[in-house]
């Protein structure tokens, strides 16, 4: 199992390194979205709830770009068939894809979050960074799990570019709630309050439950 996941993950990352299809596009999209937010809101700097909202909406929409592309190569170029012919546990593909998407998200946030701090955020990012990293990591895990399940569900339908986001967004609302509420005090001006623990617990539980659901259901999506 571990070797299968490792091999699949290596293949995914190698493909991404050679084609550079997802991560650069997601990063560029995020930076452009910050510019759009600057003009749309007519604000030079944001803080608190507004900052957390902009950050999470941008991360979410950029993640959807990655989610939409996640299984396209497997569906169009026979990756599913090759995988199904191999005598390996099918859950390996779920774990490898979740890890891939998580890696994409972390890689693009290395660009997007500092860009957000530079372009839009009023208070400095430095002090909030360690705690913000924790919130982002938990949120990313949930986005990766739900994104993988939804991408596998949508990729072999005729309207996959449309159905993916339509399915993903409502399922991701609780992650936005948890992520935005947890990061809003971190990005606030002035006094720096402690991280609200209950949002981290909510995010963690949501990740866990959806991880189990995806683990239980993923096999059914790979049967033909």
């Amino acid at each position: 199992m571990r070797r299968t996941v490792g091999a699949l993950l290596r293949k995914e990352l190698l493909v991404e390194l050679r084609t550079l299809e997802s991560v650069p596009g997601m990063s560029l999209f995020a930076v452009t979205t910050f510019v759009v937010f600057h003009f749309a809101l007519n604000r030079n700097s944001v803080d608190g709830d507004l900052a957390a909202g902009i950050l999470w909406v941008t991360l979410l929409f950029a993640a959807i770009l990655g989610i939409n592309r996640l299984f396209v190569a497997d569906a169009d170029q026979g990756g599913f068939d090759g995988f199904l012919l191999a005598p390996v546990d099918r859950s390996a593909m779920l774990i490898a894809k979740v890890a891939t998407l998580l890696a994409y998200l972390l890689a693009f946030e290395i660009v997007a979050v500092p860009a957000f701090g530079l372009l839009l955020l009023g208070p400095s990012l430095g002090k909030a960074m360690p705690q913000l990293l924790g919130v982002l990591a938990l949120g990313d895990l949930g986005v990766a799990v739900i994104g993988t399940l939804v991408a596998a569900l949508a990729v072999r339908t005729r309207a996959r570019d449309l159905l993916g986001p339509l399915l993903a967004l409502p399922l991701l609302v609780p992650i936005v709630i948890g992520g935005a509420r947890a990061s809003s005090p971190l990005l606030a001006l002035g006094h720096h309050t402690a991280l609200p623990g209950r949002w981290l617990v909510t995010l963690g539980l949501y990740d866990l439950v959806f991880g189990l659901i995806a683990y239980a259901l993923f096999d059914f999506l790979l049967e033909d």
Binding site: R156, T157, A159, L171, V173, T202, Y206, V209, D224
Partner: protein, 252 residues
């Protein structure tokens, strides 16, 4: 065989509905603050409860479909979710009317139940497009079941998450029946039973109609001497491969 018990179910629904409406308008007392407007509570809340339970039941039926691979379970899951969607639209409309009447706005963001209901509705609104976008009937039913299970599990989690996000709660009529006066609680219970019966009857009607149509098609094909499987147009509804009843078939 699918129409069995339909008449009894329909009659009991009509009776229960009439009883519920009678109680709502002539027995239940007027609420002190909201007056007559509060009567919508006996329609809105049972409908919301039935719709949400229908979504979750659709998920449970889908689990059964994934376990047994029997197309009938997929049909039941489809009908449960389809009917719940209709109830959900009605819930959103009545909820909006109630919000306008009592709080002055068509939409209130700090009412967590209403907001979570909208999110659940938006998710389930993609159920039919998802089915419609998959042509192979077997894969369509399998993918739809995966969606139904995921979404069914999402319903309670979403309610918890949205409730957590709203620190400020309105004084609520629907915080359980324990804080209602006895006559109101009784009326509410009768309304809830009537709504459950209405949901069950409508589901049974849809199931019966779908099976009857499949049987009529099979018979018509046999009459015109066609053999093999029928060509099926694109559809979001699950496919049924109903064979014509044998007694009729032998006469033909």
């Amino acid at each position: 065989m699918y129409g069995k018990g339909l008449r009894a179910l329909s009659i009991s629904t009509v009776v229960a509905m009439a009883a519920a409406l009678g109680l709502v308008f002539f027995y239940a007392p007027l609420e002190a603050e909201q007056g007559f407007l509060q009567k919508i509570f006996y329609l809105h809340v049972p409908m919301a409860i039935v719709a949400l339970c229908g979504f979750v039941i659709g998920g449970l039926l889908a689990i059964q479909h994934l376990r047994t691979r029997d197309a009938r379970w997929d049909m039941r899951s489809y009908v449960a979710i389809h009917m719940s969607l209709i109830f959900a639209v009605a819930t959103l409309i009545t909820g909006s009317i109630w919000a306008k009447g009592s709080w002055g706005h068509w939409w209130v963001w700090n009412e967590p139940t209403l907001v979570s209901f909208l999110i659940v509705f938006l998710l389930y609104a993609t159920y039919q497009p998802l089915r419609f976008a998959i042509e192979d009937p077997e894969r369509q039913s399998r993918y739809a079941s995966v969606f139904a299970v995921t979404a069914g599990a999402f319903v309670p989690m979403n309610f918890i998450a949205v409730r957590l996000s709203t620190a400020y709660l309105h004084p609520r009529v629907l915080g359980g029946t324990s804080n209602l006066p006895g006559s109101m609680a009784f009326t509410f219970m009768v309304s809830l039973v009537a709504m459950v019966l209405l949901y069950a009857t409508l589901c049974k009607y849809e199931l019966t109609a779908k099976h009857t149509r499949a049987q009529v098609r099979a018979l018509r094909r046999r009459l015109s001497g066609e053999t093999g499987t029928a060509r099926r147009g694109r559809s979001a509804a699950p496919a049924l491969t109903a064979s014509a009843p044998s007694a009729v078939g032998s006469e033909v």
